[in-house]
């Protein structure tokens, strides 16, 4: 690593106009993150002309990058307060975040999420600074077989999410997998479940499904619940997490940050896997697993740290090998092209000022975001005091506009409303939408990579076992699946020799 270039990078960032661009970027990012539907990618596209006209290309890139990671902070707010996850990586935050909000602890959830996001992002930037090129190399070892097994692991993790009923979670996940097959098959271009409409050929957009199942479903459910009742504003017990909350959440933040950093480097699906893995990890290490889904602070801290760490480490493939890891990174790739820089392996040598300027701006941008978040948490939490008669139509309007902006398509609005009705019925019958949505995201990842792998292996499935990374993932998956069975066997054999108290411990451990 070149220390001089690194320090010069800080010189670039601390120029007043770059600081201003950084501030504007993260502010816009945070605001659009709050609005579901209008994501960072669309915003970056709208603001791309700034890159054409900016006097200094570095400022423009700093600003656009700020929009991206700023949006990660904003996205949490709607997940926690309104139960609307704006993107796949904040779906898991909904379970415990929304539960906490219902208990009047929205401030705690948002506060911990902001701190977790800051720590996660910062850990990830430090990782990016020192390990960037090395980690990028490791990401390349992930081919189709590795993604397929990772997605399979993810689908099983989905079952552990939510509050308890594994069978219902698995059923919902199965439906999600089926929904993922809708659209033109990307291997044969055969149409699957498109009913001869062009609109369904590209498949169903995640945001459409998520906003329907969560957002619209929740609105419909609330209308029924609160009909005729006098509205009692949700109690807001505290605005800021207590010392005890912080103490409980900090190990989760640490684990989430590390998980997020490593999984985020993987292009395509890295951030979703990171938040899922962080949640599953927290649930596994927790002493009392029954708290999850009912307002466990670790269930917010882990995934939120992980998805911000993942968002930050997704810069690594772009800056070190010139591969955009997601749609927002593709926009940043475009912006770099616009200012006359082609991202690739030589970026760090050819444009050290830009490379380190952008990376170091993230240290400062995240600090700004943390400072901004503190007063904003207090403001946003007040949303819960708005009467449902006013809040519900506004939420409905925002979701409808948000869905429309994704593809400028009215068709998508109807699809969302359909999912809203399904979401309402699911809630009435005790199904969680989370496993469905996550399985939906992982399904296409798993299917296409499995088929790619089989083509590469020439039809021989043992290839999954002989490749080191995919083999390890499969072994891990097998362990996780067999663990409860082994424990069960162990428990049956032991009563004669062990006292009863130990039995209870093991039983608790099973859950």
């Amino acid at each position: 690593m070149d220390w001089n270039a690194f320090l010069d990078g800080f010189g670039v960032v601390t120029e007043p106009n770059n600081l201003l661009y950084c501030l504007i970027g993260v502010l816009i990012g945070m605001l659009i993150g709050v609005l579901p539907g209008l994501g960072p990618t669309a915003t970056m596209a709208i603001l791309l002309p700034i890159a054409y006209n900016a006097s200094d290309p570095v400022s423009a890139i700093i600003m656009l990058a700020g929009i991206y990671y700023g949006a990660q902070y904003g996205g949490t707010i709607t997940s926690v307060l309104l139960r609307i996850p704006g993107e796949a990586s904040s779906v898991v935050t909904v379970f415990d975040g929304f539960a906490l909000a219902k208990q009047g602890k929205a401030g705690t959830a948002l506060g911990i999420a902001a701190i977790g996001s800051f720590v996660g992002a910062t850990v990830s930037i430090i990782g990016l600074t020192f390990l960037g090129p090395i980690v990028a190399g490791y990401a390349l070892d992930f081919g189709p077989p590795e993604y397929a097994t990772l997605a399979l692991l993810g689908v099983f993790m989905v079952a552990s999410i939510g509050n308890g009923n594994t069978v219902k979670a698995l059923i919902a996940a199965a439906v999600g997998l089926l929904l993922a097959t809708v659209g033109s098959d990307s291997f044969t271009s055969a149409n699957r479940y498109t009913f001869d409409t062009l609109q369904l050929q590209g498949g169903i957009d995640f945001v459409v499904v998520a906003m329907g199942l969560f957002g619209v479903g929740e609105i419909l459910y609330n209308l029924e619940e609160r009909h005729g009742k006098v509205h009692v504003p949700a109690a807001i017990a505290n605005i800021w997490p207590s010392r005890k909350d912080l103490k409980e959440a900090s190990p989760a933040i640490g684990r989430g940050s590390v998980i997020g950093f490593f999984l985020g480097v993987l292009p395509g699906g890295g951030a979703v896997m990171a938040s899922l893995a962080a949640y599953a990890t927290e649930k596994r290490v927790a002493k009392d697993k029954s708290r999850f889904g009912r307002g466990a602070i670790e269930g917010v801290a882990g995934p939120e740290s992980a998805n911000n760490a993942a968002a930050t480490s997704s810069f690594i493939p772009l800056l070190t090998i010139g591969i955009p890891a997601n749609a927002s990174m593709a926009m940043l790739f475009t912006a770099l092209l616009v200012v006359g820089v082609t991202p690739g392996p030589s970026l760090i040598d050819d444009n050290p000022e830009l490379f380190w300027g952008v990376i170091n701006s993230m240290y400062i941008g995240n600090l700004i975001l943390l400072i901004l978040s503190i007063p904003l948490v207090g403001v946003f939490v007040k949303i819960l005091r708005v009467r449902p008669a006013i809040l519900a139509p506004i939420t409905a309007l925002i979701t409808i506009l948000g869905v429309y902006t994704i593809n400028n398509s009215v068709f998508d609005i109807f699809v969302m409303i359909t999912f809203g009705i399904i979401g309402y019925l699911m809630k009435k019958t005790g199904f969680e939408p989370g496993p469905l949505v996550l399985a939906f995201v992982l399904g296409s990842l798993m299917e296409s990579n499995f088929r790619r792998s089989m083509l590469i292996f020439d039809g021989d499935p043992t290839g999954f076992l002989t490749r080191p990374i995919s083999g390890t993932i499969l072994a891990f998956l097998l362990m996780v699946l067999l663990y409860p069975l082994v424990k069960l066997l162990f428990r049956r054999r032991t009563p004669a020799t062990t006292p009863d108290t130990e039995n209870h411990d093991q039983e608790a451990g099973l859950r």
Binding site: L31, I32, V34, L35, G37, L38, T41, A42, M44, A45, I46, L140, D141, G143, P144, S184, S186, F187, T188, S189, A190, N191, L198, Q199, Q201, G202, P267, I321, G322, I323, P324, A327, A330, M331, F333, L337, V338, G340, T342, G344, P345, S346, V379, K382, I383, I394, I398, L401, G402, Y404, T405, N407, N408, S409, S448, R451, R452, L455, I456, D458
Partner: protein
């Protein structure tokens, strides 16, 4: 006080969204057949790709040029889906008065029909072609680990060679499929969702070779991380002067992607002329020429009728080749 802040924030939020959404609905009273004052309102430019891809970038660059030359606004609207067929269907259905125009890809008309069923194929007869724009070449690249340095090395390979493509029905797939078939090399196509994932797999040695657009591959070629074997244009590509064409290497494979301006069939000639003239003026500007340079695009600024002839010829040629070698693009896996 706090409460009013919340309300304000909510209102501002709705307003932002509404503004963003407005971009998509301004197709009132655009165009008009009176040519002297074209455009009389906002002109929609649907593009069948997501923001950030070459098609999107080119559309935006042209939109800027048209605004400078003709006045008015030309909002680019991303209508991703079905390989560009969704956007095409929208343009074909639009009023033929110049209020909807679109830069489209050749592959949608020449190659996609080979991979999808007949009623899904988009026909160029639904459009008038106004003006050619630029060419985007494909390059066959090999991973470092494969050890290939030229097409001749394929003969030394044991077993099937794998090649990554940017999707089914794309020019990249056709170029690669033809190369291996013409060269009689046993090979397996691995389709990816676009150029970036295919490039990633190539860099990670997951596939032996891949066909990519030059712009996608060029930085890693320059850095020596992947090895270019062949380009598929009629002549060498200016950005990769040392890479021979397939023809030079004795393989009769010529596949290129090019883009052109289309309007709905029956749009008044004077409107078409106004657009073509404004585009030609845009091509002269140094901003536009720099844009082509950074995006590795070769100008193909020929008149609309020549583009149309080229499309028809390419379509026939690809169909013949595919039939001759028994290639099924829609059955890669």
């Amino acid at each position: 006080m706090r409460k009013s802040t919340t309300c304000l924030a909510a209102v501002a939020g709705v307003a932002t969204l509404a503004l963003a959404a407005c971009g998509g609905v301004q197709n009132t009273a655009g165009g008009g057949s009176d040519s002297g004052d074209y455009p009389s309102g906002a002109v929609d430019m649907p593009v069948g790709a997501s923001a950030g891809g070459s098609s999107d970038l080119i559309s935006r660059q042209i939109s800027r040029g048209l605004t400078d030359e003709l006045g008015g606004t030309f909002p680019v609207i991303n209508r991703e889906g079905a390989n560009g067929a969704l956007a095409a269907a929208e343009v074909a259905k639009a009023k033929a008065d110049g209020s909807t125009i679109s830069v489209q890809n050749a592959s949608l008309f020449t190659i996609t029909p080979l991979a999808v069923s007949e009623d899904e194929a988009t026909s160029i007869d639904d459009f008038d072609v106004v003006q050619g724009v630029s060419r985007d070449d494909y390059v066959l690249v090999a991973s470092k680990g494969s050890g290939f340095t030229s097409i001749d090395d394929f003969a030394k390979a044991d077993g099937k060679i794998t090649y990554g493509t940017t999707g089914v029905g794309t020019g990249a797939q056709l170029a690669c499929a033809l190369t291996y078939n013409v060269n009689e090399t046993p090979a397996e196509a691995i389709p990816f969702d676009g150029g970036a994932p295919a490039l990633t797999a190539l860099l990670g040695d997951q596939v032996d070779t891949a066909c990519l657009q030059v712009g996608e591959a060029i930085e890693n070629i320059k850095a020596g991380k992947i090895v270019p074997l062949s380009v598929f244009g009629p002549e060498r590509v200016g950005f990769l002067p040392d890479v021979p064409t397939a023809k030079e290497q004795g393989l009769d494979v010529e596949v290129t992607q090019y883009r052109f301006m289309t309007v709905p069939k029956g749009t008044p000639q004077d409107v078409q002329d106004a657009i073509a003239e404004a585009m030609q003026a845009t091509f002269e500007t140094s901003t536009y020429q720099d844009f082509n340079e950074t995006n590795n695009l070769t100008p193909l600024e020929i008149p609309g009728d020549e583009v149309k002839a080229m499309l028809e010829e390419d379509k026939q040629r690809y169909a013949d080749l595919v039939e001759e070698y028994g290639i099924d693009l829609g059955n890669a896996g």
